[in-house]
Structure formats: C-alpha cells, structure tokens
Subunit: 140 residues, 2 copies
C-alpha cells in the first residue's frame, strides 16, 4: 500500500487535492521540510493554496499518525513522512536533516519507568559529512 490516496482514506482523511499534493511532496523529497517550504512548493502547482491549509493538513496528518513533527532545530517544525521509525542527524552548518538507520533498543518500547510511550525521538547534532569535507578542502 504505497498509494497516497489509499493511505489517506485508510486513515479516515478525505483525499482533497490540497492534502494529496502536500503528502505527495513529503513523499517525493524526503528532506524534512518546514511548513513554509511545503507552502512555497505547493504554491507553484496550486496557486490558490493558503498557508492555513498547509498547517491544517499537516496537523491532520500528525493527529492520524501519518506524519511525524520533528522539533530539532529550535526555530521551526520539520515534517517527516513516517514510514519506519528512525533516528535523525541535524547539521548545524547547512541545516540539513539526515535519516539515520541505527539499531536502538528503545525504539519499540511502549512503557518506560511507568510512563506510557507514544513517540520515540532520537537525534544528533553536529557537522555533517558533506560540510566536514568542504572544511578540509578549504584548509588545503
């Protein structure tokens, strides 16, 4: 089941043009965009789209577990089209967020020390591989 329309219907969300378009963007580029980035992209295809619709749709996706909000940068929310649980790496230099597939013993836990777990978030901050290589070149 990778049909986006089906995914929405299965979640009880009516697949409007706007919603489908937003989900399609999240699915095509897995670059963890901000709401503003999504709005700008969709606007080129649906010029009448409003910022509020983007926020409304994203909220709907989140409430239904289709999309995961990432609170990593501290300045704005990034959105992740959730497939399988995974970790993230945030580059403080270029701002890019990478997916990290690593083995973590806590990704499946539903209870820790008496607290009921609904979501698990693991991420790292630093300088990404790409930016490190650029630095090296600049020095030589």
């Amino acid at each position: 089941m990778k049909n986006l329309k089906d995914i929405l219907e299965y979640a009880g969300i009516k697949p409007t043009i706007e919603r489908l378009s937003i989900l399609r963007y999240l699915d095509s580029k897995h670059d963890h965009p901000t709401a503003a980035m999504i709005f700008n992209e969709i606007e080129t295809k649906i010029p009448t789209i409003s910022k509020t619709t983007v926020y409304n749709s994203l909220k709907l996706f989140i409430d239904n577990g289709i999309v995961t909000p990432l609170y990593i940068t501290g300045s704005e929310v990034r959105y992740d089209f959730a497939t399988k649980p995974h970790h993230h790496f945030f580059c403080e230099k270029c701002g890019k967020i990478y997916d990290l597939i690593i083995d973590c013993p806590y990704m499946k836990k539903t209870k820790i020390q008496g607290h009921q777990i609904k979501q698990r978030h693991g991420y790292f901050r630093g300088i990404c591989k790409n930016c490190l290589e650029k630095e090296e070149k600049a020095q030589s």
Copy 2:
C-alpha cells in the same frame, strides 16, 4: 566542583548577580523551565531584571556547554542544567519533562556514518505515570 560561581568562572563567564541567579534557579529546581518561567522566578528576587538578560545569559551558558536547550514541546525551549547526559520523557498531558536514566549505546559516540556528533538527544512522548494514575482513579 559544585560551586556555581566556580563553574561560571571556569567556563570564562563573569559571574554577575543575574547570571548566578539564573544558574542557581536551574540548579535548585531541575524542572526544565522555559525562559519565561526563569524570568518570572528571578524577577521576584531581582525586580529590575530584563527578559533580554535572561535570554542573553542562557545563550552564553549554552555556547559554553553549561546548559543544554531542549527542543521537545514544539512551542518553546526548555533549559537543562547539564550534568551527565540523559534521556527525557515529555508528558503531553501535564507538560512536565522527566529525566530518564537509561542505558543507550549512542550517548558517547562522536561520529556516526561520517557525521561529526556534538550533541545527542533522546526523548520520549506520551502520558506520564502520574497522569495515568489520575485517569485510572477518574474511571473507578
């Protein structure tokens, strides 16, 4: 070395009344407060303190590795007086952030898949033990 003045001086930060007061608050109550909570608390002791000084001081602490900002709630930054690395649990109901001491194989890593790691963040979301117990009582 648990003397707060020493900690600041060791980090190259001049221990002004304002800065000491903020750090003392973070040290006394480990409740991961927001900047607003800190400001309100300090204001009762230093009525002339300004919001900007709170933000300035926190930024200084963060830049020098004394305090860790937590981007967990999505609406505002929480501040943690960093001692040892640990995980967090955020209760979606009461908003409280708990420290979790759990064994994680990635808390000491300095490099993952070519990326240089500076910070590690692991946190969980859900309903805390306290709120769960309240729910149970309400049902019986």
